[in-house]
């Protein structure tokens, strides 16, 4: 059987000959009717040829490079059964207005078949400010839910069984604080921290590279991330303490290869930090998870996801000497590409999201968010989010793609593109090693400028017509009025400020002060378990500390980082 995958020399010779003959015919035909484009390339501008053959994967070793699902190097997927036993988690990113508004949305999504929660916070929460901060003016509840205190967290998750459902929280510099609120609230409700499952994004490195929710300089940011990894390993064993994210890197304009390489290198950095803290790699690496963007170029995304698993497995085994297969397998969440959506003819976004979601499924994702058609303007309306959720359910249950594991394996093109992704990502990884690691590279503006170059290049390709976006540079269309765009009332800002003020007045001042003193002592001490911020934070938020009060303490202890504003 295997002979057909690995051709003999005689067979290769014949293939080469026949390929040459085909190429002659192709060129002849093009004289009558030339190719439609001067150059065929992916959305990341990776050139693609007209045809791929066994010659393109002649050097492949089935056992080393592809293998079986659930087995090293996990090219074909992280579980042996994949979607035949359990579908991916349908996890719609949701957050709007107040905790009650978002809680209502959570229940709406669960009632329509969503299988995991994902929380979007508003900008003040993401940046570590309470709603009453002068810097938060006009932002409350606009791009997510406003969370200041444990009381907000309690109302956010009211009526949800936190041991049954897993919760993802997109929060970065203040991740430790919001996680402490989640744990403390869950325990207040009678749930055990040992049985809580979920994810905090907590990926500080990609903030400097792309997403720009900035608070502390890189070094102390890494210290806090490692505190959460250490605490999770000991206390919350079912929690994913970092979601190492390519999504935002890609949205900022990176190519697929850059997304892959920078994200994997961020992962390398977190593993190094964990080891420096004294953890063994197999103790914590299994709780690291990843987050990919599924962009508009179908095969490129599938190849990227397949390559990402193989890359990570090899790095964990070869670079870090991991022994436990769980440390080597890359589990990931995927979100369809927000930046591929158009304000013009927004119903077309349903089609874009569908193909992107299909790529994520064929790429073997563990969970998925599908963008809503109106998400290009605003947080999605109920009407639009339901179409997006139904899109996943149709892919899962109607079209048959979940029946066969990694169905594109063995495709000459997909395998060749998977190899290409790995090879080019490895070239970046070597470059980052040469620069002295990710923190040094960030300080030199290296990944930031690589992404800015790619973003500018893509924009020029759109303007020249080299790349096509329907409704934007071909079949031009005006932006219409959508009937169901969601509005967030500016009045909720005042209400939230009042609520947080009342909450602060009602807390036990002595207990609060003691808890904050302990948190400060730990921040000021050298990084180690005795100075881990997490136990102190759980007590502080229980004692009524607000997010901003904890972040204020961080800022005093560790200094602040502001966007250097290069372009």
């Amino acid at each position: 059987m295997l002979k057909k995958v690995v051709p003999s020399e005689a067979e290769l010779e014949r293939m080469e000959k026949e390929h040459g003959q085909w190429l002659e015919e192709y060129k002849k035909a093009l004289k009558k009717m030339p190719e439609r484009l001067n150059r065929f390339s992916t959305v990341s501008d990776l050139e693609t040829r007209a045809i791929y053959t066994p010659l393109d994967i002649a050097g492949k070793d089935f056992f080393e490079d592809i293998g079986s699902p659930g087995c090293y190097p996990f090219t074909r997927g992280v579980q042996s059964t994949m979607y035949r036993a359990r579908l991916w988690t349908m996890r719609m990113f949701a957050g709007l207005g107040t905790a009650e508004d978002t809680n209502k949305r959570f229940h709406y999504l669960i009632n329509h078949g969503e299988t995991g929660l994902s929380t979007a916070f508003d900008f003040p929460t993401l940046m570590g400010y309470d709603t009453d901060s002068p810097l938060a003016r006009g932002e409350c509840g606009k791009c997510g839910v406003a969370i200041d205190t444990i009381d907000d967290i309690q109302r956010l998750f009211a009526g949800i069984n936190l041991e049954d459902v897993t919760t993802s929280m997109t929060i970065n510099p203040p991740a430790s604080i919001i996680w402490a609120m989640y744990i403390a609230n869950a325990e207040n409700q009678g749930f055990s921290r040992k049985r809580l499952g979920g994810t905090i994004q907590n990926d500080c490195l990609k903030e400097f590279i792309a997403q720009k929710t900035l608070m502390l300089p890189p070094e102390p940011s890494l210290r806090l991330v490692t505190d959460t990894v250490e605490f999770g390993t000991r206390e919350v064993p079912r929690w994913n303490t970092i979601s190492i994210s390519g999504y935002h890197i890609r949205e900022a304009g990176a190519t697929a290869v850059q997304e892959l390489a920078f994200t994997i290198y961020d992962g390398i950095t977190y593993v190094e930090e964990g080891i420096k803290r004294g953890l063994s790699v197999d103790e914590f690496a299994g709780r690291l998870s990843f987050f990919w963007n599924s962009h508009i170029d179908f095969f490129e995304e599938i190849a990227k996801m397949r390559a990402s698993r193989r890359l990570w497995a090899r790095i964990m085994k070869e670079r870090f000497g991991a022994k436990d297969p769980r440390s080597m397998l890359m589990r990931f969440h995927t979100q369809t590409a927000g930046c591929s959506l158009t304000a013009q003819e927004p119903y077309n976004n349903v089609i874009r999201t569908t193909t992107e979601a299909l790529a994520a499924v064929l790429g073997g994702t563990q969970s998925l968010h599908t963008n809503s058609l109106d998400e290009v303007y605003m947080i999605p309306s109920e009407e639009a989010v339901l179409i997006a959720l139904r899109t996943q359910q149709i892919l899962a249950d109607e079209i048959g793609v979940t029946h066969v594991i990694d169905p594109l394996a063995g495709s000459y093109f997909v395998e060749a593109l998977t190899d290409k992704m790995e090879e080019e990502a490895n070239a970046y990884i070597r470059k980052l090693d040469d620069l002295g690691g990710m923190v040094a590279a960030i300080e030199r503006d290296f990944p930031q400028m690589e992404i800015a170059d790619a973003a500018f290049h893509f924009q020029q390709q759109i303007e020249s017509g080299e790349k096509t976006i329907i409704g934007v540079n071909k079949y031009l269309s005006e932006r219409p009025e959508l009937e169901f765009v969601l509005k967030i009332d500016d009045e909720i800002e005042r209400m939230q400020v009042e609520r947080t003020n009342r909450f602060k007045e009602s807390r036990d001042k002595d207990r609060f002060r003691k808890a904050m003193d302990e948190l400060r002592r730990r921040c000021e001490g050298p990084p180690c378990w005795d100075n881990n911020v997490m136990p102190a934070l759980v007590e502080a938020v229980r004692a009524g500390a607000t997010e901003q009060e904890c972040c204020g303490l961080y800022r005093e202890a560790f200094g602040v980082y502001t966007d250097p504003g290069t372009f």
Binding site: R137, G138, E139, K142, C143, K212, A343, M378, F456
Partner: protein, 142 residues
């Protein structure tokens, strides 16, 4: 001074919004069109933006925002320019705005709003045609 001077543009990101792809792309496009460009980086308050605009003696502020917080920051910036007697610094905006907000923003003196899909060339051409350098304020003051 006058017409020979290069146009000076401040590209600014008001509020806590971190979506800076558009701001960085347009800053490059302005630079490539021969304008002098200063970029604030993310997370600027209206006060910081107006102070920078005055200190850097710019002719135009280009505000980029995708978070919906323009309902606070844009009017506040226009107010601060007025209070600082710097109304001759003109302001344009780019990003995502509910359609009904666009006439309101123009009503408070924002010269133009560029929506998703706007071409770089259209924006740089618009600036070339509609924005001339400010009179040298310090010079005239004496």
């Amino acid at each position: 001074m006058g017409k020979d001077r290069k146009l000076r543009i401040l590209v600014a990101k008001p509020g806590l919004d971190g979506h800076d792809r558009g701001a960085r792309v347009i800053a490059r496009a302005f630079r490539d069109s021969g304008f002098e460009v200063i970029y604030t980086g993310c997370h600027q308050t209206p006060e910081q933006i107006v102070n920078t605009a005055i200190q850097e003696d710019v002719d135009l502020i280009g505000l980029s925002i995708l978070s919906g917080a323009h309902t606070y920051s844009f009017p506040r910036i226009m107010e601060l320019l007025k209070e600082s007697n710097a109304e001759d610094i003109r302001v344009i905006g780019g990003g995502i705005f509910p359609l009904e907000d666009i006439p309101k923003l123009k009503g408070i003196g924002i010269r133009e709003i560029f929506e998703p899909g706007a071409k770089l060339k259209d924006i740089t051409d618009w600036v070339e045609q509609n924005i001339s350098p400010r009179k040298a304020v310090a010079f005239e003051g004496k």
